[in-house]
């Protein structure tokens, strides 16, 4: 802000107002199996085999946390992390705090589906200027929590964003669309889902890791019932029956095979 045309008292008042108007960002995070995990199922294919699985912060959510922090830092604001999950997720929640988030909320329930997760988050998501999710979780892949939250809160939602900027109460986004990209703008409050390219994920430093240990992590009980859907069973893609090798000298044969044997071109 430049100059002070309204005198010292008015200046203090403006400062006070600006304090009140600090940008509040809420980032929803999911905790997912590490990308190298070999997926398997147990109990007659009704349950995911968690034996030996390493859990990580969902890669898109890592971008959401990072950009949320950058925006809050640039505009004098704060970032709250929210996660629906059981106690074993706390290490990942602490990671988000060590990246720089101010506080976290864990809603103590098994995240059965996107609709239950969104219904729970909607209960605490009032009052934020920007709510961020990832484009999708890499385990459940519904890509739905952001849109559901937008509808439940009655605010706009902007999917798969590759840029978020903020000025004077308005957010500007670039987002992927079918066959291209578009730029849209929207006044706060708004929900957006992070896509690759949004930013470089922030790596926690030692100070952040130390600070995260004592940051507030609030535990809440679920308030809604998970009655939208239930996963009955799982299956793996059918394994390939064996590769048929083609002589590189006769590579042109491939086209003939694809046309007449595989019939895919």
């Amino acid at each position: 802000m430049q100059g002070n045309p309204i005198g010292e008292k008015g200046g203090f008042f403006l400062l006070f107002l600006r304090k009140l108007k600090r940008m509040k960002v809420l980032v929803c995070i999911s905790v997912v199996p590490d990308t190298t995990t070999k997926i398997g199922f147990i109990e007659n294919n009704t349950q995911f085999n968690t034996a030996g699985v390493q859990y990580i912060l969902n890669p898109y959510d890592e971008l959401a946390v990072t950009r949320g922090l950058e925006l809050a830092e640039a505009n004098g604001g704060s970032v709250t992390i929210v996660h629906v999950g059981k106690a074993d997720s706390e290490a990942v929640i602490r990671k988000a705090l060590s990246m720089g988030a101010n506080e976290a909320i864990r809603i103590d329930a098994e995240p059965t589906d996107a609709q239950f997760v969104a219904a729970e988050i909607a209960k605490i998501a009032g009052g934020y200027d920007l709510i961020l999710t990832g484009r999708e979780s890499i385990d459940y892949n519904s890509g739905a929590v952001g849109g559901l939250l937008g509808a439940l809160l009655g605010i706009p939602s902007v999917n798969v964003v590759t840029r978020i900027d903020y000025a004077n109460g308005t957010f500007t986004f670039d987002r992927d669309i079918d066959g291209g990209r578009e730029t849209v703008s929207c006044a706060a409050p708004v929900v957006a889902s992070a896509q690759k390219d949004l930013c470089e994920p922030r790596i926690p430093n030692m100070r952040g890791i130390m600070a995260a240990r004592t940051k507030p992590l609030q535990l809440l009980q679920p308030q809604t019932v998970a009655d939208f859907s239930a996963s009955k069973s799982y299956e793996l893609p059918t394994a390939k029956t064996g590769v048929k090798m083609i002589d590189p000298e006769n590579a042109s044969q491939l086209i003939d095979i694809l046309r007449n044997e595989a019939k895919v071109i």
Partner: protein
């Protein structure tokens, strides 16, 4: 089901292949468990031909605004309520996926995205959907009386039906909190998520200057182009081409991978492809285990031969 509503997404005044698939899908359900199929057209695109894909009727809403998730969701939910729809089908495109959750929330419906099967209705309403980024599938039961399904492109064959669909219009006003300022569409290119054939390049191609070969083969086969993660990370190709666990999951009829090793995160995004061809100079490359056809050879020798044959 009584009333099945399909969001008939259109682009440049034509209905996309994925829309035709969604309508065929809905009609298949109507044929097996009963019900009528209504295709909802938002905007000026003429829906006269949608009967050919299985729509019993076409409702047009003359909304002139740009696509925004909130306005389109309002319109779709209003039409669904007025028709007492108990099933909404959209395609799992960027647009479809940005309206499906919002509409599901306003209709208090159960939602499933990434759906790749017809519903099994012998015990509830169960659909198969992709989970773990292409590494597995889940059979999910949807419990609410109203359901919203977003179906993966290339999962259903388009069937043709005869008979004119009954046409009507509805006027619904919708407002959006989102202002669309600029749209950049890549013209003349086939959208990766909907392509039937995809040619993909990895780090084995050495640099962006060698992508001419990939594009030439793609042109000859009417294919879309894709790439591995490091290729988009290094800026050789746009990130929108990055397939895999942290990129796009695709399901084409044919996927040709050139100079890609076949890491587990890459395979996750492409292993649902019907036929996979791996071209790699290393006979030990993991991709050969996931492929139907393989060529061990240098891409720079092998591709020109394949391109020549494809052009024939």
């Amino acid at each position: 089901m009584k009333n099945i509503l399909v969001f008939a997404e259109s682009a440049d005044n034509t209905f996309k292949k994925s829309t035709q698939e969604a309508i065929s899908y809905a009609r298949e359900i109507a044929e097996t468990v009963g019900g009528t199929v209504t295709a909802l057209v938002i905007g000026a695109t003429d829906g006269s031909n949608l009967g050919n894909y299985g729509a019993h009727q076409v409702v047009s809403v003359d909304y002139a605004g740009s696509f925004t998730s909130d306005a389109y969701s309002t319109i779709i939910a209003e039409v669904a309520k007025s028709m007492q729809s108990d099933l909404l089908v959209v395609s799992n495109t960027y647009s479809g996926k940005s309206v499906a959750p919002r509409v599901a929330a306003s209709l208090d419906a159960s939602l499933a995205t990434n759906v790749i099967s017809l519903p099994v209705t012998s015990d509830g309403f169960v659909v198969k959907r992709g989970v773990f980024s292409g590494k597995a599938f889940a059979w999910v039961n949807l419990s609410k009386s109203c359901k919203v399904l977003s179906i993966t492109p290339n999962s259903f064959e388009i069937k043709t039906w005869s008979g004119d669909a009954n046409k009507s219009t509805q006027s619904i006003s919708a407002t959006s909190g989102i202002a669309v300022e600029q749209v950049n569409k890549v013209t003349g290119k086939i959208a990766l998520t909907e392509a039937e054939v995809v040619i993909s390049g990895g780090r084995g191609l050495k640099g962006p200057e060698n992508w001419g070969m990939i594009e030439e083969l793609a042109d000859a086969l009417g294919a879309a182009t894709a790439c591995s993660k490091p290729v988009s990370d290094m800026g050789w190709r746009p990130h929108s081409e990055h397939v895999g666990q942290t990129g796009i999951t695709i399901k084409p009829n044919l996927y040709i991978a050139v100079g890609i090793s076949g890491a587990i995160q890459h395979l996750a995004g492409v292993s649902s492809s019907k036929v996979i061809v791996a071209i790699n100079k290393d006979p030990e490359a993991p991709f050969f285990k996931a492929a139907d056809y393989g060529i061990v050879g240098d891409a720079f020798d092998v591709l020109p031969k394949i391109i020549a044959a494809a052009k024939n």
